[in-house]
């Protein structure tokens, strides 16, 4: 969906404001927001793709008016409610009113560090040959799906060149919606700045995205 998260090339957000000697966290609650979000992810109710979709599904006014950890917490509440682990009465009461469901998946302190160190690779076995190879000219599809996608609007319907074949990776457009991983070949695709932004673009600019095979057509 081309929601508030789809920021590439948008104008009007002003100057970047880097902070000198920026701390890792700006408040105690940000620390807890990070930890609670990751601990809840370990319950296995949702995928990383579904959580990204929950964040981008915030109303644009809410998304742009929120810091990133606020976005995470608002999306986390929505995910927990969707999966039956939280309800509005509990949030009002500030206490649990019914037991948790996935309690057997609770992340323990002793497992937390190992889980972070292990991560969650998303490459999968190849089941068919890749359609493209490095150097191939492609055009991205003209698609504006209502659901989750990782093809940014600025790179929709644009000519580009396949630069690398990255293997077969979980397909977020399906995985975000509980439709399984449906792994697809993933490519790094490079675009000339002039093709993305027109004749006023920096002629020395190129931009690449990582694009799954269904996003691409031969040029």
């Amino acid at each position: 969906m081309n929601g508030p998260q789809d920021l590439g090339g948008r104008m009007g957000f002003g100057a970047i404001t880097p902070e000198t000697d920026e701390p890792v966290f700006h408040a105690e609650w940000e620390k807890r927001a990070l930890g609670v979000t990751l601990a809840c992810g370990a319950l296995g109710h949702w995928t990383l793709d579904e959580s990204r979709h929950a964040r981008e599904s915030l109303h644009p006014a809410d998304y742009y008016g929120s810091s990133y950890y606020e976005i995470w917490i608002k999306a986390l509440e929505a995910l927990l409610e969707r999966h039956g682990e939280l309800n509005a009465e509990e949030l009002d009461a500030g206490q649990a009113l019914q037991p948790g469901l996935m309690t057997d998946r609770r992340l323990s302190a002793s497992n937390a560090a190992a889980a972070l160190a292990k991560g969650g690779p998303v490459d999968r076995a190849e089941t068919k040959p890749a359609r493209f190879e490095p150097g191939d000219r492609i055009r991205t599809i003209n698609a504006h799906p209502r659901g989750h996608t990782r093809l940014p609007t600025y790179a929709v319907d644009k000519p580009g060149t396949v630069e690398a074949v990255r293997g077969v990776h979980v397909f977020p457009d399906a995985n975000a919606h509980g439709q399984g991983e449906q792994p697809q070949w993933l490519y790094t695709v490079r675009f000339a700045g002039l093709d993305l932004w027109g004749p006023d673009a920096d002629p020395k600019l190129s931009v690449s995205i990582d694009a799954w095979e269904p996003y691409l057509e031969p040029a």
Partner: protein
């Protein structure tokens, strides 16, 4: 966030504090409920925080870059299979499962962004700074990278090509900045001191030996 220079700004400041106070209460309530339900263990939350507050950060990436500067074999491995080369130094895991190193040259400057969210190579750089996750950077990095670089105090020669990597999948990119002049014979530790976080995102350059951080 706001300055105390007049009454209006005082008001904004209080509003801001109240807003953050609300978030603190909201997160505390959520953690309490989830703990009561047996879904999270506050000690696991502590471990996660501790990991990214004290153990995983841009010193990791700086060690990777310093080794790439001084060890041609490692540099070649890093170019060929960054995930394995980086893991050999002990840096691996969440948000670094599929790594690619991109090397700056006199002719090409690399810069990394995630226009769609906040994808960032955690095992080598830690958690992203606020500006990396915020709309001004995410919107302009792909369309006006030279303007973005200027706001970081970096001016590249006009004929330097700029290559922007938008992290739209689970590939995570680490920029290897160019090794500064005058660093022959420096130790790995001394070299790592020159590698700033921003130089590994591509919004900065490595420091010269006598340049303050």
């Amino acid at each position: 966030m706001h300055h105390h220079d007049d009454d209006g700004h005082h008001h904004d400041h209080h509003h801001h504090d109240n807003h953050l106070g609300e978030m603190a209460a909201r997160v505390r309530a959520l953690e309490t409920i989830l703990t009561e339900k047996g879904l999270i263990d506050p000690a696991a939350v502590d471990t996660i925080i501790e990991t990214y507050e004290s153990r995983v950060g841009p010193r990791n990436g700086a060690a990777v870059v310093a080794k790439a500067w001084s060890d041609p074999e490692f540099r070649a491995w890093l170019a060929r299979d960054a995930t394995a080369a980086i893991a050999s130094l002990g840096y691996a895991g969440r948000q670094g499962e599929h790594m690619q190193a991109v090397f700056n040259t006199p002719g090409v400057h690399n810069m990394v962004v995630c226009t769609l969210c906040s994808c960032y190579p955690w095992p080598v750089l830690g958690l992203p700074p606020v500006w990396y996750k915020s709309p001004p950077y995410r919107s302009r990095a792909v369309s006006d990278p030279r303007g973005v670089l200027a706001e970081f105090g970096v001016t590249l020669p006009e004929d330097t090509a700029i290559r922007v990597w938008d992290s739209t999948a689970e590939m995570r990119y680490l920029v290897v900045p160019m090794r500064p002049e005058g660093t022959d014979g420096m130790s790995g530790e001394q070299l790592a001191d020159l590698v700033t976080r921003n130089s590994m995102i591509g919004t900065g350059l490595a420091l010269a030996p006598e340049q303050p951080r």
